[in-house]
């Protein structure tokens, strides 16, 4: 369905490692051919150790993220303990599936919890929910499936994951007109959330320049 309003056509990515997850996104929001915000933060905190990467309509994903933040916060207070990443993912799925005709939202939910460690769940447009060790989303994701499939190996370290994500995102931003700006990264583990920004001129360089 042709979409008006601001769209975060995007590249988003999340990878699990032993002890946590690394998530990343580009920073471009467009209204048609105009870049409305070139420094968008698409990595939204849902809870202390749970984040979501947003792609699709900016308004829809911001609204869903707000709703889920409230629901998860309430649930966590009732339970009197930190919520599970799977719970957050299911809350996203519930909203995205119920209102699938009205919404355009592709979301990757990633975080750390005590029961299962680092987890990545993807909730694409339509409201499916599936857990994957590594997941990419957004319009720029099509350009990096090959890179992801050939370079991801199980049991990578946190630094290897950060390099994988920043490399993949810079490749996608190079080829996809709808992705660009800076690369925002976050590493979530038991100890906390470590956020970084890689500016345009500091991105990894590839040979076809």
């Amino acid at each position: 369905m042709p979409y008006l309003g601001q769209v975060a056509v995007t590249t988003i990515m999340a990878v699990e490692y032993d002890g946590g997850v690394v998530i990343g996104a580009d920073s471009r929001t467009t209204t048609g051919a105009y870049i409305a915000n070139r420094v968008t933060d698409k990595l939204t905190p849902i809870h202390d150790r749970i984040f979501c990467c947003r792609s699709g309509s900016a308004a829809d994903t911001q609204a869903i993220a707000d709703v889920v933040t409230y629901q998860l916060g309430f649930h966590s207070i009732e339970l009197d303990e930190a919520p599970l990443v799977q719970t957050a993912a299911n809350l996203f799925k519930a909203s995205c599936y119920r209102y699938r005709e009205e919404l355009m939202a592709g979301i990757i939910v990633a975080g750390w919890d005590k029961r299962r460690g680092g987890q990545v769940y993807t909730v694409p447009v339509g409201g499916m929910l599936v857990r994957q060790p590594v997941s990419v989303g957004g319009s720029g994701s099509t350009y990096i499936y090959g890179y992801m499939d050939s370079n991801y190996k199980p049991n990578m370290t946190k630094d290897q994951c950060l390099r994988l994500v920043s490399g993949a995102l810079s490749l996608a931003m190079e080829r996809d007109g709808s992705s660009g700006g800076v690369v925002r990264l976050a590493a979530i583990s038991e100890t906390g959330v470590d956020r970084q920004v890689i500016l345009g001129n500091q991105l990894p360089k590839w040979s076809t320049a």
Binding site: L4, G5, Q6, N37, S57, A58, A59, Q62, A63
Partner: protein, 277 residues
């Protein structure tokens, strides 16, 4: 009469009562060879920046209805609260009413809680409302304010998306204004430099966009207070037409005067006692 409605939560679903009214009116007007007036849009340039001491907002003053300038001195910087102002682009009625509604709700909140409203609260209220209406309310707003947590500048789009950035421009002239802002914005600018930058950005919008024009309004919000300078700069193309056409008593000379007294007789008299015990 309207007071009881203020604290009501809106009924679920959309309220499109006015659409059926408009359709009925269109039907009547078409038959009489008159066209319904087009909604007044503020083809606009609005801009805002965060500087060291506060927030500077700027706007042009042209409101268009189709290809005609409907208002040459329209006020696009709306009052929200003593520490917050909001520039509006899009449909004039929508930006007017949305900002009025926000201002009223925040006043009630202040009275209820005894606290000054924060900019994030205003932004959340706007986002809730505009998202609920799925883009039918054509209001692109730049909200700027100073509160206990600092100086803030947000933009809210008609579909309900928000962005929090240090400098912004919206409206039909936004590309021209943003060019100036991208070139010369620096974090923590001094107030005078910031006012000049916003003025230049709006001026660029006025020069390069047909939907923007006339004068430039500037609103400076700091912790000490608000300085709403309207107009900050007047257009060089002012005309000499009068606004008011009031004539002095005695302009029309009196030729003849005839006084006819009216004879009234009292037909009936009723006295009703008031119980003022």
């Amino acid at each position: 009469m309207a007071l009881s409605n203020v604290v009501e939560t809106p009924a679920s679903g959309f309220n499109f009562e006015n659409v059926s009214r408009n359709v009925a009116l269109e039907g009547l007007l078409e038959g009489g060879h008159t066209k319904a007036p087009k909604p007044m849009k503020t083809g606009t340039t609005i801009a805002g920046i965060v500087c060291k001491d506060g927030v500077v907002l700027g706007a042009d003053t042209r409101a268009t209805s189709g290809e005609v300038v409907a208002d040459k001195m329209c006020a696009k910087i709306h009052y929200i609260s003593p520490n917050m102002y909001c520039c509006g682009a899009g449909t004039a009625a929508d930006t007017e009413k949305t900002t009025d509604l926000l201002s009223s709700n925040l006043t009630i909140f202040s009275m209820n809680s005894g606290r000054n409203p924060r900019v994030v609260m205003a932004v959340n209220i706007l986002q809730d409302m505009l998202f609920r209406y799925r883009g039918q309310i054509g209001a692109s707003l730049i909200l700027g304010g100073v509160d206990c947590t600092g100086n803030h500048l947000y933009t809210v789009g008609p579909y309900g998306s928000i962005d929090n950035v240090p400098y912004l421009a919206m409206g039909s002239g936004d590309l021209a204004a943003l060019g100036i802002l991208e070139d010369r914005f620096k974090p923590n600018m001094e107030l005078e430099e910031a006012k000049q930058l916003v003025r230049d950005a709006i001026h660029s919008g006025i020069m390069s966009d047909l939907g923007s024009g006339n004068n430039i309004d500037i609103c400076v919000i700091t912790k000490q207070g608000v300085d709403y300078i309207r107009p900050y700069q007047e257009s060089e193309y002012k005309d000499k037409r009068q606004r008011r056409y009031k004539y002095r008593p005695g302009t029309t000379s009196i030729l003849t005067e005839k006084i006819v007294p009216l004879e009234l007789e009292v037909v009936q008299e009723t006295v009703q006692r008031m119980d003022t015990a």
